[in-house]
């Protein structure tokens, strides 16, 4: 019974295995990125950037049809332009980052919708918005695995710089020449993961595997390293459970994965030992010192 739900589909159907590999890659790299996004109080920036990549994807689609490399390159270009331009606007003008990001992503989104409506059909738009986790080809899998590898390698190699830039950017900027570039590098990684994830989950949901496991992980521990590992792990668990459930219930794969991640989040919100509801509302007996 349990075997039929959780193991059978993946043994019997290659497309389920491919979906699992793609979703796992998205999850293990997205979770740690999401932790840094929440620590930087940019939980909504991921969402904004996921909208911002739309015109790039649409232009890629117009030029080359349903070609993953073209749509990916377009999405990357659009996302990076928005991330860099809004970051630079925040750094060098009096405007704060949230306002400049909102301005740039809204213009980008409007541009994307315009392009899609002028040239494409609604079916194409749905494909871009909601992805197709069950139709991942080799190119898509390589892209997902590649972006996850780049992300994890960058986070591991520059862990100290990412942490210091999140905690005290003025200090890092003065202590190391790399400090100036860390915010841009970070946003570039976010864009890379969103663009890679859109094929599997769609532009709107790719951000779900970044933010939900990260928000959940922070409710369990105060240790940064543990939080990062836990976020990747909870994301992987959600990806697996979501795919299994979607197969058995006949539900669309992308939304199922995000709903599973949502369930993990709500459980953490209730029971998390580091700031969950039960822990906060019914504190244990106080200690002597």
């Amino acid at each position: 019974m349990l075997y039929d739900i959780f193991v059978g589909p993946f043994l019997d159907y290659p497309f389920m295995r491919r979906a699992l590999v793609g979703a796992l890659a998205t999850a293990v790299a997205g979770g740690p990125l999401g932790v840094f996004l929440t620590l930087r109080r940019m939980a909504l920036a991921g969402d904004a950037l996921s909208h911002a990549i739309l015109p790039g994807v649409a232009i890629g689609f117009l030029v080359a049809g349903l070609s993953l490399p073209a749509m990916t390159l377009g999405g990357l270009a659009a996302g990076l332009v928005v991330a860099l331009a809004s970051g630079a606007a925040a750094r060098f003008s009096a405007q704060r980052e949230d306002a400049s990001l909102a301005a740039f992503y809204l213009v980008s989104l409007a541009l994307g919708v315009t392009i899609v409506s002028l040239k494409g059909s609604n079916v194409d738009l749905l494909h871009v918005l909601f992805g197709s986790a069950l139709a991942l080809d080799d190119t898509a899998l390589f892209l997902l695995a590649g972006s996850a590898s780049v992300t994890l390698f960058a986070l591991a190699a520059l862990y100290r710089a990412f942490a210091a830039d999140t905690l005290d950017p003025v200090f890092l900027r003065r202590a190391s020449p790399i400090g100036e570039y860390m915010p841009f590098l970070f946003l570039a990684l976010v864009v890379l993961n969103l663009v890679a994830g859109f094929q599997a989950l769609g532009t709107l949901l790719a951000v779900g595997l970044i933010m939900l496991p990260a928000a959940a992980a922070r409710l369990w521990t105060h240790d940064l390293t543990l939080t990062l590992l836990l976020a990747g792990g909870l994301g992987a668990l959600s990806a697996y459970a979501g795919l299994a459930l979607s197969f058995n219930a006949g539900a669309p794969a992308g939304p199922s994965i995000i709903l599973a991640a949502g369930a993990v989040y709500f459980i953490s919100l209730g029971f998390g030992r580091a700031g969950g509801l039960i822990n906060n509302l019914r504190p244990r007996r106080h200690l002597e010192g």
Binding site: R41, R160, T166, R174, A175, H222, D223, L224
Partner: protein, 270 residues
């Protein structure tokens, strides 16, 4: 003009060079409005200088410019060959996210980043200097505590410990004793006196005048312009202080262009 400081803490043979800082007709501000206006003067190596003046008088702005975080709109800051980022700088409190999951030990160790770089390993010597700094500021026993568990005074001690690990020849402090109790202030003042004994230059923005009179030999009284700059006793006079208060006025919405440089150039030419 060079002072060498040996050993921030006993057992350390590193010598520190404190650079002389020269301000030449420096104007610093925001949106064309000068917050510091036509300031000239020199901070000698090993000097202990307090910057006093009314709120909005330009104390923080001047420190930011010394730290290289603001570019002067006019004039020039010479640092005797040192780079602005070589100066250790402690901004006014509350710019840190205190919910960030990091231990006191890890936080203080960030001070070594400058020497070790992003990829450098924190070796035994650095670990020892972190331990000495934590003990030096009186936070022994708090190494594994999270930053968010510290009180305001303890956080300030941790920030001072990070400064000690940075081991800079010039140390810039912006209101280091704001919202800190008397005992903590005395401890931190003792640390500053120790830094001075090692030949480091310390420049601190302060508003407690009694404390400045007691612990800082030199003072710059700043109210957008320098009211007085010199020995503390001669600067903090009743006359100067009341002058500083009257000069602290709001922005004039219809302010005209400042022509002072042109007239002084003309005077030079004559």
């Amino acid at each position: 003009m060079e002072a060498t400081a040996t050993a921030l803490m006993p057992g350390r043979s590193l010598s520190v060079r404190a650079a002389a800082i020269t301000l030449e007709n420096v104007t610093i501000g925001y949106d064309r409005r000068p917050a510091v206006h036509h300031l000239s003067g020199e901070i000698l190596p090993g000097e202990l200088l307090a910057i006093c003046g009314p709120n909005g008088g330009g104390k923080s702005t001047l420190l930011k410019a010394l730290a290289g975080l603001l570019q002067p709109m006019g004039g020039h800051i010479a640092r005797d060959g040192a780079k602005a980022r070589d100066f250790a700088y402690l901004p006014q409190a509350a710019q840190l996210d205190r919910t960030f999951p990091i231990s006191v030990q890890e936080f203080v160790a960030l001070g070594a980043l400058r020497r070790k770089g992003i990829f450098g390993r924190i070796d035994a010597a650095e670990t020892a200097s972190v331990e000495r700094a934590i003990a030096g500021v009186g936070l022994k026993g708090f190494e594994t505590h999270a930053l968010g568990q510290l009180s305001g005074g303890q956080l300030q001690r941790a920030l001072f410990a990070r400064l000690m690990v940075e081991d800079g020849g010039v140390i810039l402090l912006d209101e280091p004793f704001g919202a800190i109790d008397a005992a903590t202030t005395e401890d931190l003042l003792a640390l500053i006196a120790g830094w001075r004994a090692e030949g480091r230059t310390v420049v601190a923005a302060l508003h407690e005048l009694d404390l400045v009179r007691r612990a800082f030999p030199k003072t710059l009284l700043l109210s957008r312009e320098a009211i007085a700059w010199g020995a503390t006793g001669e600067v903090l006079t009743t006359k100067n202080l009341s002058l500083a208060r009257t000069m602290a006025k709001a922005h004039d919405a219809d302010a005209a262009y400042c022509h002072r440089d042109e007239t002084s150039e003309r005077a030079d030419a004559l």
